[in-house]
Amino acid sequence: MLTFFVLVPLLVLLLLNISWRALPRIVPQAAVLVLGFADVVFGLALPSLPVNSEIPVLSELHFGLVADDLTRVFLVSIGLVICAAAFVNQESMTTERSHRNFCSLLLVSLIGMNGAVLLSDFFSLYVFLEVTAIASFILIAIERGIFAVEGAFRYLLLSAVAAMFMLTGVGLLVFTIGDTTFSAVHESLNVATGTPLLLKMAVGIFIVGLFIKGGLVPFHGWLPGAYSSAPPGVSILLAGIVTKVSGIYALVRIAQDVLVSDPSLSMILLVAGSASIVVGAIAAIGQSDLKRMLAYSSISQVGYIVLALGAGTELGIVAATFHLFNHAIFKSLLFVDSASVESRIGTTDMGKMGGIGAKMPWTGTTTGIAMLSAAGIPPFSGFWSKLLIVLALWKAGREGFAVLAVVASVLTLGYFMVMQHRAFFGKPSAQLDSVKEASAGYVVPAVVFALITVLTGVFFPLLKDSPLSFLLLNKGLSW
C-alpha cells in the first residue's frame, strides 16, 4: 500500500511522457495536482487504511516503507506545497513542452520526497534526497537564465558535498554495525552502555551533511542565490518543502531515535539552530529584493526548528514538527504572493513596490497574515509553534536558548514590518497605476494557505483531540 506513494507517480510520469506530441496543458497539470492532493488525503487518512495488506504481485517486493505520524505530517505538507507550486507555475510557463517538462520534474521531486519520508534506512535516504535534489537543480535552471544557472550550480556543488558527508556517515555505520536501517542504529545506540565513539561520529557526520542540505548556518551559502534566482513556482517548492524534507526530516527522525538517549549530539543542534536564527534574521533586514529577504527568513525559521530539536525532549520534537508544518504553509504563502507581485510588475525589488497593497488587496492581506504568523503573533499558527519551542527549551533546562528564541522573534517581526511598510502599505506610486490583482492561479493557493494558517492557529487548543492531532505527533503531552 505504501509503495503506491512512490510507484504511482513514477508510472504516471512515464505515461505522461510516452508520446512526443504535445499534450493539452491540462493533462500534466491535472496529474500533478491529483497526485499532490492524494498525498494530502492519504496523509490525513492513513491510520484507517489497510496499510500493510498483501497486494498479490507487490508483496514479493518488500520495500520496507513505514509511515508514522511524523510521516503523515510531511505527506500533507508535501502535497500542499506541490499543489501550490503547480498552480502558480500554470501561470508563468509559456510553451506546452516546457510545461510538460516542468510537471514531469515536479513529479520526480514528489517521488523523491515521498520516498524519503516513508523509508527507514540511512542509505536509501541519501538516494531519494539526491533524486529530489537533481529534480531541483534542473527546475531552478529550467528557464536557462544566467542567474538561475549559477544558483543551480552552486546548489549542486554544495548538495553534492552534503551527500558526501552523509555517505561517510553511512560508511562508518556499515563499519560499526554492518547495517544502515534506522532500527538497527536505534538498537545499537540503546544496547551499548557506553555508545561506541565511532557510531556517534557516524551519526554526527551524517548530521553535518543534513545541515548543508537544509541550509543551516554556516552552510547556507547556496540558499539565497538558489531561492531568488529560481522561477516563481520553483521557489515555492524549494522554500516550502524541499529544503525541509532534505535537511530537517532526517534530523527529526534522528532526534526521535537517537537524541533522547544521547545528549552530546544535541549541542550541535542547539548551536547550529541559534546561529541560523540570528544570522538569517539580521541578513534579512538588509535585503532589498523580496525573494532574497524571504530566503534569509527561511534560514532563520529553519533555525527555530533545529533549535527545538536540540532541546532533546519529546516536547521539543513536537514543537519542531509543528513549526515545520506551519512554516511550510506560511513560507509557501509568502512566495506565492511574491510570485503574484512579480507577475504584475515584473520585478521583486521592494523599492519598486511601494504601496502595492492598495492595488492587490488579496495579495496584501494574505502576506500580512503570513507575516504575522511567522513573527509569532496570536492567534495565528506561528504563535503556537513558537510558544511550544520556547516552552520546550525552557523545560529542558536550556533557558538561555529560550530567551534567544524570544528575542529573535522580535527581530523577525522587525524585518517583516519593514517589508510590509515598504512594499505593501503607503500610497501607490504612479507607475503602479495599471496594476491589478493577480490572476486566480495565484490568489487561490494564497487564500487557501492563509486560511490554513488562520484556522490552525485559532483552533489550536482543540487540535489535540481532533483527527488532526497527528500534527502534534499524538504525543498526548500536557502543558
Partner: protein, 165 residues
C-alpha cells in the same frame, strides 16, 4: 608479503594521481589523471573482493565520465586555451601549500593507532542477491534518478529554439 606491497603501491599511486589531477595546468591532463585514479580504484576494489563494483567503477567512471568531460572540454574550447595561457604562476601561488598540507595530514593519520580489525571472512550474500532482496528501494531510486537525468538532458541541453523564448 608481496600482496601487501602491491596494495600499498596502488594506494600511493592513487593519492599521487589525485594530486596530479588537481595540480595539472592543462585541463585535459587533469581529466586523464582522473581516469587514472578510476583505474586504480578499480584495481583496489578487485583486491577488496568486490568485482562487480570494480567493473562498474571502470566502465562508468573511467569510461563514461571521462568521455563526458572530454565532450565538455571540447564544447567549451575557446575559453580553455585562454585559460592555459593565464599565468601558471597564479596557480602555483594558490596551490603550492596543498602537497605539504597533505603530507602533514598523511603523517598524522598514519600515527593514529587503529585497532586490529579481524577481517571477517568475505561472508554475506552475493551482491546481486543483496540488491534484489534487501535494497529494492534503492533500485527504484536508481530508476527514478535515471529518469530525472533524462529530463535534465532534455531541458538543459536542447538548443533554445528562437520561437520558444
Amino acid at each position: 608479503m608481496n600482496d601487501a606491497i602491491v596494495e600499498i603501491v596502488m594506494l600511493v599511486t592513487f593519492v599521487l594521481m589525485a594530486l596530479w589531477a588537481v595540480l595539472a595546468t592543462k585541463l585535459l591532463r587533469a581529466v586523464v589523471a582522473l581516469a587514472a585514479t578510476s583505474v586504480l580504484v578499480t584495481l583496489l576494489l578487485f583486491k577488496l573482493d568486490s568485482p562487480l563494483a570494480a567493473v562498474f567503477e571502470l566502465s562508468v567512471c573511467a569510461g563514461l565520465v571521462s568521455a563526458i568531460f572530454l565532450g565538455t572540454i571540447t564544447l567549451t574550447q575557446p575559453e580553455n586555451e585562454a585559460e592555459v595561457a593565464e599565468s601558471a604562476k597564479e596557480r602555483i601561488r594558490r596551490y603550492w601549500y596543498l602537497p605539504p598540507l597533505l603530507l602533514l595530514l598523511g603523517v598524522a593519520l598514519l600515527q593514529v593507532a587503529l585497532p586490529d580489525v579481524p577481517t571477517a571472512a568475505a561472508a554475506g550474500d552475493d551482491v546481486r542477491k543483496v540488491l534484489w532482496t534487501s535494497r529494492h528501494l534503492d533500485l527504484l531510486g536508481q530508476i527514478t534518478v535515471l529518469v530525472a537525468g533524462a529530463f535534465g538532458v532534455i531541458v538543459l541541453f536542447k538548443e533554445a529554439r528562437k520561437n520558444e523564448r
